[in-house]
């Protein structure tokens, strides 16, 4: 384990059911490392093993194989103590429906050994101070999500683990959640965020791991993952002639039609050479620009063939 790792997993595996036709390998040898201060996005389609992985970290799912450390803790007793220093939510917000938002946070405060004064502070922070005395069961989904976020902040955690925190929120709510996450990250809190809102992740996260069918298929800083390929966006009057010419470009790795023009993958980032080549072929470009692959494009490429790109996992 590296000295500044907040989360480190080694070949973490979860199989539901015994080996055989009916068993499901939900997480298949996941190894990842989250360093202190990172905002780490954990992405994957439905059923890719995101929530199961988080469940293992949170102590509610027993790993079939592999190991992990949380805030340096590895043993069962150490992990229970470490979890009191973590703020985590898994899937839906889980609270007592007959208790008020404030009473629910009081219970969480007692469990975490946090200062009781933090209850009202956190309610204020997520904009629930006015409804703190109302029953949790009467809250809208957005309010439930915000209460869940308040609960994760009660103990000034070193690490916050959020599983789809923006589920059910309107654009304004999403923006508020994003602001809270950024504020937390600004205070040096490490954040491990599972989400299907890829543009949100791209805005918030410094690092990302993409998981597919229980395995990590890409991991690293968002900039590296999002723009791993060198490519250019080109436009010309005769698109067919352009595609024919690009097929013969020595530094080209393939070209395809996009919504905004033709995207050509390149072996080097010498766009001037591409322009000269196309001019030599008699094609005069109306547009030539470096193309940055979005996280969403990378995600779709890496998880192609999976059912959907939304929801839990």
């Amino acid at each position: 384990m590296t000295s500044d790792s907040v989360i480190e997993t080694f070949e973490l595996t979860k199989r539901y059911g015994r080996r055989g036709a009916r068993s499901v390998l939900a997480v298949d040898g996941v190894s990842l490392s989250v360093e202190r201060g990172q905002v780490f996005g954990f992405l994957g389609p439905n059923g890719s093993g995101k929530t199961t992985t988080i469940g293992m970290l949170a102590g509610v799912v027993r790993p079939t194989a592999g190991s992990f450390s949380l805030l340096g803790a590895t043993g069962p007793r150490e992990l229970v103590a470490a979890r009191a220093r973590v703020g985590a939510t898994l899937e839906t917000p889980n609270f007592y429906p007959y208790l008020s938002g404030r009473d629910n946070l009081r219970i969480a405060t007692a469990i975490k050994g946090a200062d009781r004064a933090r209850v009202d502070e956190c309610l204020e922070l997520v904009g629930l101070a006015d409804r703190a005395g109302h029953r949790f069961g009467s809250y809208s989904l957005g309010m439930k999500q915000r209460l869940s976020l308040a609960a994760t902040m009660l103990n000034d955690p070193e690490l916050v683990i959020l599983d789809e925190p923006a589920n059910g929120l309107d654009p304004q709510g999403m923006r508020e959640i994003r602001t809270i996450i950024r504020d937390l990250a600004g205070c040096g809190t490490t954040i491990f965020l599972s989400s299907h809102l890829l543009w949100e992740v791209e805005r918030i996260c410094s690092h990302v791991a993409i998981v597919r069918k229980g395995r990590i298929v890409a991991s690293g800083p968002v900039e590296e993952i999002a723009s791993g390929d060198i490519s250019a966006l080109v436009r010309a009057e005769d698109e067919m002639a352009l595609l024919e010419a690009l097929a013969g470009y020595p530094d080209g790795k393939g070209a395809q039609r996009g919504q905004e023009g033709v995207i050509v993958s390149l072996a080097s980032d010498d766009l001037a050479a591409l322009n000269r080549y196309l001019a030599g072929c008699g094609i005069h470009l109306s547009h030539l620009a470096r193309h940055r692959q979005s996280l969403e494009e990378v995600f779709v490429e890496l998880t192609a063939g999976d059912s959907r790109t939304e929801g839990g996992g």
Binding site: A81, R83, A84, L90, N94, D103, I107, I111
Partner: protein, 289 residues
């Protein structure tokens, strides 16, 4: 003070603090739970009705039965007869939703740990069991006060203490069974069906199988429901005071409980309670939440 004594003191303080936290959490959950208050009122009503029935029967020369200490057997019979089953159902109603609401899971995620979550539920069962006894004693005392019968001492006798211990053990067994079922089914309705189903099925099975051999009869007398019923019977704890009644039962061919076997039955009930508590814990510990 030696180092080991200091360490022991620190451990004790930590444990006390931990127990204090669990009590605080469970109280906060329990006191605002409607079903808990409904159960308390129901139990108090049930106790009052049973006491009123006993009071009506006791009059004239039997008036001593309406004042302590004579009132205690009838008073303790209230929780002893209906208490374990009632407590079991209440435990299921209180614990099973922790799984459907996923608050059990969130408690573990928040750092409570499976062990402390389960310990809190065991403490709750103890507290509910004690509460049912207190409620019954209050009904007895209020009944004695209202009954305007003179009395000098409210002290419990040896038979009363044995009756009380038997009830506590039987309620622990029922509570442990309910907790195990709640942890296994993780939903109130199927857990209650299983609990009631067993309570109904066991006496039927015992009636069908009974009388075939002595050994089988002994085995059947140690089954959980049979144990709870025997220990909840006043005649097992007040053999001398109720000797007349015992004789009458024997004349009509009924078999009153054997007062000399109470200690053995108590051991069996405690064993059942321990096994069921362990089974519930194992279910919590080794199944994903």
């Amino acid at each position: 003070m030696s180092g080991s004594a200091l360490a022991q003191g620190a451990r004790t303080a930590r444990l006390a603090g931990s127990v204090g936290v669990l009590v605080r959490i469970e109280l906060l959950k329990l006191l605002k739970r409607r079903i808990f208050w409904v159960a308390v009122v129901l139990f108090a009503l049930l106790a009052t009705m049973k006491f009123a029935t006993a009071s009506t029967a006791a009059g004239g020369e039997m008036a001593f039965l309406l004042a302590p200490p004579g009132v205690w057997p009838a008073t303790l019979a209230i929780p002893a007869t209906v208490g374990p089953a009632f407590l079991g159902l209440v435990v299921i109603a209180l614990v099973a939703p922790e799984f459907t609401w996923r608050t059990a899971r969130q408690s573990v995620i928040d750092g409570l740990g499976v062990e402390r979550f389960y310990a809190a539920k065991c403490m709750m069962i103890l507290a509910l069991s004690a509460l049912s006894v207190v409620l019954a004693l209050v009904v007895g005392l209020v009944g004695a006060a209202v009954g305007s019968v003179e009395w000098e001492s409210a002290a419990l006798g040896a038979g009363d203490v044995q009756f009380l211990a038997s009830y506590t053990a039987a309620s622990l067994m029922a509570g442990a069974a309910a907790l195990w079922l709640a942890c296994t089914f993780r939903a109130g309705a199927p857990a209650m069906v299983a609990f009631i189903g067993y309570a109904v099925a066991e006496p039927i099975a015992a009636a069908i199988l009974g009388g075939r051999s002595e050994l089988l009869d002994v085995v059947l007398s140690y089954l959980p429901v049979e144990l709870a019923m025997t220990l909840g019977n006043r005649m097992a704890h007040y053999p001398e005071a109720l000797s007349g009644l015992r004789e009458m039962m024997e004349i009509v061919g009924m078999s009153p409980p054997d007062a000399t076997a109470v200690k053995g039955l108590l051991i069996a009930v405690h064993l059942y309670a321990m096994v069921l508590f362990a089974a519930g814990y194992a279910t919590m510990r080794y199944r994903d939440l």
